[in-house]
């Protein structure tokens, strides 16, 4: 019973502006013709068009999943624009100087380093605006050690054999409703290839921006690390503030060969809708990593703060013996946001190990669910999993749920699951205030403490960013 403990409003979304830029868009709607249009626009080879059409035909037979603990009006797939690109003379900017100044300003405003001189030292960036990749920095420098880092479309043109070998090898086009949709209509994204024995000398990063009001974003990311290679990859995203919902249905595939290591970090800040739940991004994403080789390692770290609806389960298939899968997640929901997120760890090889650390924070009227599957297959001798799922509630009207599914088919496996739920209560806040600390700073300190184990896994700048982002998202009228 307190009038003052009331975290209701959050600071306005500061990335909510729209860039006024002429776009080259497809008409809304989805059919085989739309797919042929996209494929033709991109000058794709026939096999890729076939891949798309096959996915589309399969998608037509599928139903939208309804098992997640989220409620929303189903998107009208015929109202979505499946291709939207900023108009440009050449198909790809040859250098930064050719990029539309309006676009450059947009990314400056977003704080995304697309200019190499002004860039954060040591981060190469691929920038995706609506349906296309705008620019990729540090490409030449990376090429000197054999690393390929480019937009997906460019990879299709320049490295078709790699794309053909790995596309859909981790997430088949028939995997699930949204993955099938993505496979049919994906427009761009990033491709990373780290050759044998190479440690990527800098963090690689993609920044996704949805600008067009009616467009969906369907990007595709593929990262391949060959034997003994390693890479750390960062993903960031924002969208303007509209009172309609935009659909984001991405597919991310990671492949790690023997002793390779891929670390994939996301700070997701798509527009979440307003306080009353109007507008915001539907974030339906399929992310999966295949630890194909012996002693390979894939680590997902995510900080999910945006989107009206989040439906996302970055997973690891632990095929190689002694491979390691990790999932570190912070998911924050406020107002009317709904998140159903978690992971799948599938142990196939011997002595495979997985770790799951999930921290859910719910405030306002939001709903936050963790859903995780740990599966140990019969041959996964000596498999081990440790899961820790903690929920934190702020205020009275939010909810948190945990759905752990455990399937063990090998008796030597050890699976441990721990879960806690806590509340930032009036008494805790009062204690901080009595020591002179304002309630908002108290909340941010408590939340940072709560998320420590996940933030530790993020690259430095991202950790700082994430800390700030959480505080911003929870900023409100306390006291």
């Amino acid at each position: 019973m307190s009038s003052t403990f009331n975290v209701v409003t959050s600071q306005e979304y500061k990335y909510g502006f729209v860039t006024d830029i002429e776009a080259d868009s497809a008409a809304p709607g989805l059919s085989e013709d739309t797919i042929r249009f996209i494929s033709a626009k991109k000058g794709e080879p026939d096999w890729l068009l076939e891949f798309r059409l096959k996915a589309y035909r399969h998608w037509l037979t599928m139903a939208e999943p309804d098992w997640a603990k989220v409620n929303y009006a189903r998107p009208d797939f015929q109202a979505i624009v499946y291709y939207s690109a900023p108009k440009q003379k050449t198909p790809k900017y040859a250098s930064m100087d050719e990029v539309d100044p309006e676009l450059k300003r947009t990314f400056e405003k977003l704080g995304v380093p697309i200019n190499e001189q002004a860039a954060l030292a040591g981060v190469a960036v691929d920038v995706v605006f609506d349906s296309v990749s705008v620019t990729t920095t540090y490409k030449e420098k990376l090429a000197t050690v054999g690393i390929i880092f480019c937009s997906f479309s460019e990879a299709v043109r320049e490295h078709p054999e790699l794309i053909k070998r790995y596309l859909g090898s981790v997430v088949p086009s028939s995997d699930n409703f949204y993955a099938a949709l993505n496979s049919a209509v994906f427009t761009d994204g990033s491709f990373v290839f780290i050759p044998k024995g190479v440690t990527c000398p800098m963090d690689l990063s993609t920044y996704f921006r949805i600008n067009n009001k009616d467009s969906g974003q369907f990007e595709r990311t593929l990262i391949v690390a060959e034997e003994g290679a390693s890479v750390s990859y960062l993903e960031g995203c924002t969208a303007p503030q509209f009172d309609t919902n935009q659909l984001h249905a991405a597919v991310v595939e990671l492949v790690a060969l023997d002793r390779a290591s891929i670390k994939y970090s996301t700070v997701q800040n798509w527009y979440a809708g307003d306080k009353n739940g109007l507008g915001g991004i539907y974030n339906f994403v399929t992310k999966r990593g295949l630890c194909k080789g012996v002693a390979s390692r894939i680590s997902w770290t995510q900080v999910e703060t945006g989107s009206a609806i989040t439906w996302k389960y970055p997973s690891c298939i632990l095929l190689g013996d002694e491979s390691i899968g990790e999932f570190y997640s912070v998911a924050l929901t406020n107002h009317k946001q709904q998140a159903d997120t978690g992971t799948k760890m599938v142990h196939i090889g011997r002595n495979t190990k997985s770790t799951i650390i999930s921290k859910g924070i719910s405030a306002g009227d939001s709903s936050n669910s963790y859903r995780g599957l740990v599966k140990v297959q019969p041959k996964a001798e000596g498999a081990r999993n440790f899961s820790q799922c903690d929920s934190m509630l702020i205020g009275q009207s939010c909810s948190a749920s945990t759905f752990p599914y455990i399937e063990v088919q090998n008796r030597s496996a050890r699976v441990e699951h721990e879960a806690t739920t806590s509340k930032i209560g009036e008494e805790q806040l009062f204690y901080f205030q009595q020591r002179g600390i304002p309630a908002e700073e108290a909340i941010s300190m408590i939340i940072n403490g709560f998320c420590k184990d996940v933030f530790r896994e993020l690259p430095m700048e991202f950790a700082v960013e994430a800390t700030k982002l959480l505080s911003l998202k929870l900023e409100g009228s306390v006291g």
Partner: protein
Amino acid sequence: MLLIKNLTASINGTPVLKGIDLEIKAGEIHAIMGPNGSGKSTLGKVLAGHPAYEVTGGEVLFEGRDLFSMAADERARAGLFMGFQHPIEVPGVSNSSFLRLAYNKKAEAEGRDELDPLEFDDFIHEKIKLVAMREEFLDRSLNEGFSGGEKKRNEILQMAVLEPKLAILDELDSGLDIDALRVLGDAVNRLQRADRALLIITHFPRILETIQPHYVHVLSGGRILKSAGKELALELEERGYDWVLEASAAGGAR
């Protein structure tokens, strides 16, 4: 320093404080004793600004300012400190970072320099000596898993860090072993100055042998029934509270 005039307050609609008058001047030490449930902790929390309590009447001036016009954190930065009877646990927040933030908030409000982690390290090492706390407690989560006595020690450490003008210490002595009682009593005495004041809430005269009060008040049923010098504490221990209540009833409602 603190002037309380006819203060009434309730929780969940139930009146708990029913007209408190009390003046505490700089340099003074006051003790409040009284039966369980009489409203002692409530008085402290109302003064500190706990949101669950509703002030229904009266007035409180702290250093001449209307206390109730200030938010809880503002009161703290202005120099009002409450050592809690039951300090709360905060998992994940390290004791030292909590102490540093509290210190810096106050420093900022007073226009003094804030301390960076290294400077604070030096600073806090002097302070933990005062309360004889082991260093490892600085790295632990705030009060998490602390024993009752360790929590009380931590409260006094916070007091030593913040050096408040007025400290309300709610049952500092309950849960403390004999040595801890002496150490913390001495620490509180050392923190007391001519321009500071103390309000000690306790059930036992023992702590008042170390922290010697100028006045002892008996709080019962939400009212102060009797005020006298420190000898009252011993008399209460010998005779209990009934005679005070009876005398007060005989003397009519105040």
